[in-house]
């Protein structure tokens, strides 16, 4: 395990007494994976990610980085451990008074690398993030996306095993967000860097995460691998987040009206079942007429998830038999209830 957070809690003293920003959270990130924590602002996710490199000291619990418990390390050893953890931020946090090149070179110099190595790495990682031609510019002359690329190059130049991303795309427009996410995927695949990110945007999770944690009020309320989470969400907050990328819910009033003539069901297709014309088969085999109400397809990092909400018009026994047939063929079934 590259990152293990064990029973992490963090309490803050505020005017209204103690506030538990993070409450007994467990996270396990395997080497080479990308894990994402999603939550609304105030859920405690930012405090949580800052506990990983101990920018924030957890009040309870332990942090292990690549098997070493960092929570009990003395400061010099902790600094060494931090060398292996890169971090990028929503606000980029670059030196305004230094050029793009110096923003990457200065930390390396301060970490004690020799001149040749500093130059070597600065040039190499500038090229990886695609900013070689901007090396003499100052941050104020760059766009938000370019600034984040410099920050990524700075983090990579330490040659870390882990990259922490604290809302790195939240200040960027959708197109730039996509290009930064592509870059993160690339460094994960080509350099094998393990990534833990926090975000409030479901499309970030969708595009690059292997595993997802949903946070609310300091707790992880649901966690699963990305495909499972997108196909079988259980917590209302998870469902709300899924709604932000595809309208999944019909109004209860509409469902009630449709229930008179047949069941309203959400079918979820993953992997193989996406390729078969199952709905056509259903209408031939059984005396039912499926009417598609909504449909969408979501591309995840490790697969494709299809969602169809259908209104199955027909007799109750025929409808049930049809649903059973679909379930046997690997389709996820969820009956939608109307107003009661």
């Amino acid at each position: 395990m590259m990152i293990v957070l064990e029973n992490i809690s963090k309490e803050f003293n505020s005017k209204n007494g103690k506030v538990k920003a993070v409450n007994n959270v467990n996270i396990h990130v395997k080497e080479g994976e990308i894990h994402g924590v999603i939550g609304y602002s105030g859920a405690g996710k930012s405090t949580l990610i800052r506990c990983v490199n101990l920018l924030e000291r957890p009040t309870e619990g332990k942090v292990y980085i690549n098997g070493v418990e960092t929570t009990s390390l003395p400061l010099p050893k902790l600094r060494e451990a931090r060398n292996k953890i890169g971090m990028i931020f929503q606000g980029f946090n670059l030196l305004k008074t230094a050029t793009v090149y110096d923003n990457i070179a200065i930390p390396l110099k301060l970490l004690g690398y020799n001149k040749a190595e500093v130059q070597n790495r600065a040039e190499k990682y500038l090229e990886i993030v695609g900013l070689t031609d901007k090396h003499k510019n100052y941050p104020s002359q760059l766009s938000g996306g370019q600034k984040q690329r410099v920050a990524i190059a700075r983090a990579l130049a330490q040659e870390p095993e882990i990259l922490l991303s604290d809302e790195a795309t939240s200040a960027l427009d959708p197109e730039t967000t996509d290009s930064i996410l592509d870059l993160l995927l690339k460094i994960n695949r080509e350099l094998g860097i393990t990534i833990l990110l926090i975000t409030h945007e479901m499309n970030v999770i969708q595009k690059i995460c292997d595993h997802v944690y949903v946070m609310e009020n300091g707790h992880v309320v649901e966690q699963n691998n990305a495909i499972q989470l997108f196909t079988k969400p259980t917590h209302p907050t998870t469902k709300k987040f899924l709604n932000t990328i595809s309208q999944r819910n019909l109004s209860p009033r509409l469902i009630s009206q449709l229930h008179v003539t047949g069941a309203v069901t959400r079918l979820t297709f993953v992997g193989e079942s996406t390729g078969q014309p199952l709905l056509a088969e259903v209408s031939q085999k059984f005396n039912v007429k499926p009417n598609i109400l909504t449909a969408n397809i979501i591309e995840l990092k490790n697969g494709i998830v299809g969602n169809i909400v259908i209104h199955l018009i027909g007799e109750k026994d025929q409808v049930n038999a049809a649903l059973q047939f679909l379930e046997e063929n690997g389709v996820g079934i969820e009956n939608l209830e109307g107003q009661s």
């Binding site: 971090m87 230094a98 930390p107 104020s140």
Partner: protein
């Protein structure tokens, strides 16, 4: 002989000497005031609650000391610390005697200006460097002071100008300087021309220091 030649013949040696005295006083006291003021400014920033070396006692103590010294007008301070001055430099008169009060007067002022300059530096950058495992000492030097350098230069410019003002009082302990000439000859002896000449030189001096400071700060600022 024209009137101008007559004036320069009579006063140039006196004014010239006083200019040198002013430069001496400002230069030497600025040097020591910076030596004390900049670390003191860094100290009150780093010990404040929520910062890397937070220490309530040290923070409040240094704040108190700065505020006490800054409440005393220079003319009072000059006499108030005479025994202290004597114990440090062995005399209370002349340029030597005025350096100590000038330093004590200016250092807390520089510390306050340093404080506001350093607080402008985004905490996020400091955090990013902490997250990389870089030592606090390096962060102070290569992140905080570097990012604040334009504001620091402007602060030092302001301090220098206020220091020049304070040296006008140095005549009280026989340290001379431009202010002293303006007071003794210009005011007490009704030599209005001398008053005008010294005021004119002071204006030129302050103007040029401010312009140099502004230009330097603008060049160091990159955003």
């Amino acid at each position: 002989m024209s009137r101008l030649e007559q004036f320069t013949d009579q006063w140039l040696p006196i004014i010239g000497k006083s200019v040198i005295e002013t430069f001496q006083m400002v230069g030497i006291s600025l040097f020591f005031a910076v030596l004390i003021g900049i670390p003191l400014g860094i100290l009150i920033v780093l010990t404040r609650p929520g910062q890397s070396l937070q220490n309530k006692f040290l923070y409040q103590l240094s704040n108190l000391v700065i505020n006490i010294v800054r409440s005393i007008p220079f003319i009072i301070l000059l006499f108030f610390i005479l025994p202290f001055t004597k114990s440090i430099v062995g005399t209370t008169i002349g340029v030597k005697g005025v350096i100590v009060p000038l330093v004590i007067y200016t250092a807390p002022y520089i510390a306050r200006l340093m404080e506001s300059a350093l607080l402008e530096v985004e905490n996020g950058v400091v955090e990013a460097y902490t997250a990389m495992g870089i030592k606090t000492r390096s962060i102070i030097w290569h992140v905080m002071l570097r990012e604040a350098r334009a504001s620091i230069i402007l602060g030092l410019t302001i301090s220098t100008v206020s220091l020049i003002g304070a040296t006008a009082m140095a005549g009280m302990v026989g340290a001379g300087g431009l202010g002293d000439v303006a007071y003794r000859f210009g005011h007490l002896r009704y030599e209005v021309d001398v008053m005008y000449a010294t005021v004119f030189i002071l204006i030129i001096l302050v103007q040029s220091i401010q312009s140099i400071g502004n230009r330097l700060a603008a060049r160091l600022k990159k955003d």
